[in-house]
Chain length 459, copies 2
Amino acid sequence: MARPTPLSGFPELLPADRFAEQHVLDHLRRTFELHGFAPIETRAVEPMDQLLRKGEIDKEVYVLRRLQAAEGEGDAGVGLHFDLTVPFARYVLEHAGKLEFPFRRYQIQKVWRGERPQEGRFREFVQADIDVVAKDELPFHFDVEIATVMAEALSGLPVPPLRIQVNNRKLLEGFYRGLGASDPAAIMRVMDKIDKLPADAIRELLAKEDLDAAQADKCLALAAIRTPDASFADQVRALGVSDPLLDEGIEELAQLVSALSDVELDGVTVTADLRIARGLDYYTGTVFETELEGFESLGSICSGGRYEKLADDGRNVYPGVGISLGVTRLLVPLIARGHLTASRSVPSAVLVALIDEESRPASNAIAQRLRARGIPTEVAAAPQKFGKQIRYAERRGIPYVWFPAAGAGDPGADEFQRGQVKDIRSGDQVYADAGLWSPPPGDLRPAVITPLDTRGATS
Amino acid sequence: MARPTPLSGFPELLPADRFAEQHVLDHLRRTFELHGFAPIETRAVEPMDQLLRKGEIDKEVYVLRRLQAAEGEGDAGVGLHFDLTVPFARYVLEHAGKLEFPFRRYQIQKVWRGERPQEGRFREFVQADIDVVAKDELPFHFDVEIATVMAEALSGLPVPPLRIQVNNRKLLEGFYRGLGASDPAAIMRVMDKIDKLPADAIRELLAKEDLDAAQADKCLALAAIRTPDASFADQVRALGVSDPLLDEGIEELAQLVSALSDVELDGVTVTADLRIARGLDYYTGTVFETELEGFESLGSICSGGRYEKLADDGRNVYPGVGISLGVTRLLVPLIARGHLTASRSVPSAVLVALIDEESRPASNAIAQRLRARGIPTEVAAAPQKFGKQIRYAERRGIPYVWFPAAGAGDPGADEFQRGQVKDIRSGDQVYADAGLWSPPPGDLRPAVITPLDTRGATS
């Protein structure tokens, strides 16, 4: 068979890069669990009628068909999920009787979209979502919690600086209504285009919605407000628009950014940014977007918000607030450009050398002693000259080579566990006992490295 | 929307059960990495021509089609992978220039098969595979390594006893050839049916392959041999058949079971079982199957073997040896019958109670102090009566409730971090400082429990 070629839009990682991804996924999981978010996984497929409830995305769905389906049987009636929100809403309804509300969950899974691949857009990609969902009522402090947990999860990642931008749809809707717009939602849809169109084009569209020049100016002035703290509130009020929903939105957004300013974050900033609207219709309050510095063209890599009706089974309504991190969208462009990888391509911290094939059980016994103390270890594949075995380790990035004592006897005997261990980076070699020696903690697992120093530091 | 119903063959877990699954997956990953196996993930889809190379399984493939594919565009030309071996072989060829051989990898992913669902057979399920693949030549000690690593990975799992059964196709082929069979592969295919057909039917089929009654008796006698050590060799030789390939097979199998008998295992036994053939054609030496005690009707839950030609790009041949654990097939029947779950439905070890809504920042600060020391913590959703907050914890299985000191001042102040913590199982309540107190290690994460005591112990 000829060498296979990659499938466009379906990224795959080499082992060293996969370690970097795993490091990020582990950090996310750890943060989510520290905050009490429970792990769930949903099946990869949903019935087509579920997937098509939001009309906008139907073009992107992959439909499944059994290859050997009976004549006329057609599609299997299911498609691959394109996000983790639709499956989560279905999961909540299906298992509502067995879940405790408010229900915090995180979900890290692949999703699929049949769209045209381009940088930052994939056909298969990993998302990491957190949501809190309640029965009937979900207090606003959960919006603050969701933002805090995701900001902490993004903090300290081996990636360029991240800018979380927060806004509130009540603030926008209230402002447009207070301004006199007859259809505030229509104004929001226009203003959502502000990054794509020049100001004059926006003014023209606003004029079509019956806003005069002064009103349009205020819309543009509102969208220009961005502050790292609650001071946005004074700037909004200075525009002289008033409305009860606007007040509510200002109050919520101020609470959120104030709470976030108390959280210690590394490489993550949180800004009230009144330009953010999120195109999708179901958000009803808080909305989030996140930019990656230097990679703004990727679009938002972490987005979400509050939806008063995540799910509804006729008896109960389930409001939710959540945020979704595009893990693949964040990491793959960095990996592809050499900004992110790991220090080795194998988990092994130690390669136990092999004197000859007969002494393999002895080398295995040494390796087993090291593993018993949590040190990832492999044994050389063949009893080549030691120089070749060292190069074997070098090519994989394994930092230590263990040379068993030559001519030792029974692998179980204590003297057999002794030998010499060489740090092949420095060349330092010391006598050691496999029951006692450990590498420095930093060498125990592959280290994530950021070779082009995007943040001025390795993690 | 009405309450959704489950999709047959697509199992989903509740949070407590997912913790049990995660515990198993973490244990597998840790074991594989301790032995130097690198993590990879392959995309979920493969080109149809790749998937259909092995003719037998084509009926099970799910083909993908873009819902909005242009008229006449048809299928997307890809299908969901039905195992992790076909994608791994493709990955090896595609990335051969960037991999170091021998290449050890583990891969834990979902796979899909469109077959009729029944107990132990799913349409979507998780597999955990380990393989070693080399260029041109792969010494036999890797067969021993693969068996050892998977036996260790299965050791100590919270499941009923597992019986790994090992055989060697060279032994079988050599035996049938030494016996005088003109088509040893045909005999192997007959003998592979030994669990499904009575002995007389097997004899009849053997007769059709031109074996006389004495020869057939020897085939049946060979299939009856099973020993926990290398003593099978004498029993095979006592049948009076000789052939060089038989000798090679005996030697390999003896090496393997001897090496495994040196490994300390908990709840796992390894047996040379000369009945095992594995139906699929590509195995060329060692073969593995695994039974779960009390669940034999599920079939083998962990299978694999040696294939001299895992992949082939025209210039190089890549031999491999590997084994695949059906994680879903192992766990879901246990979970469904109440044999396996976890002690709580949330990661939180502590619920910080809430005196009133105004003191939420104080309760948050306490929670944050606990999290900073790795203690999963959540804050009560609402300032209900303490009795209600305790029941909130109880329903989720959270073992500790933290009561902040009433009337304390600034959340940053030290006295604020003090309070009382109650073990709600025993009712014991003590004064504690959020910067110092920790739960016992066993309470830190949800404990895996085996309520029906399938192994006489909880893990």
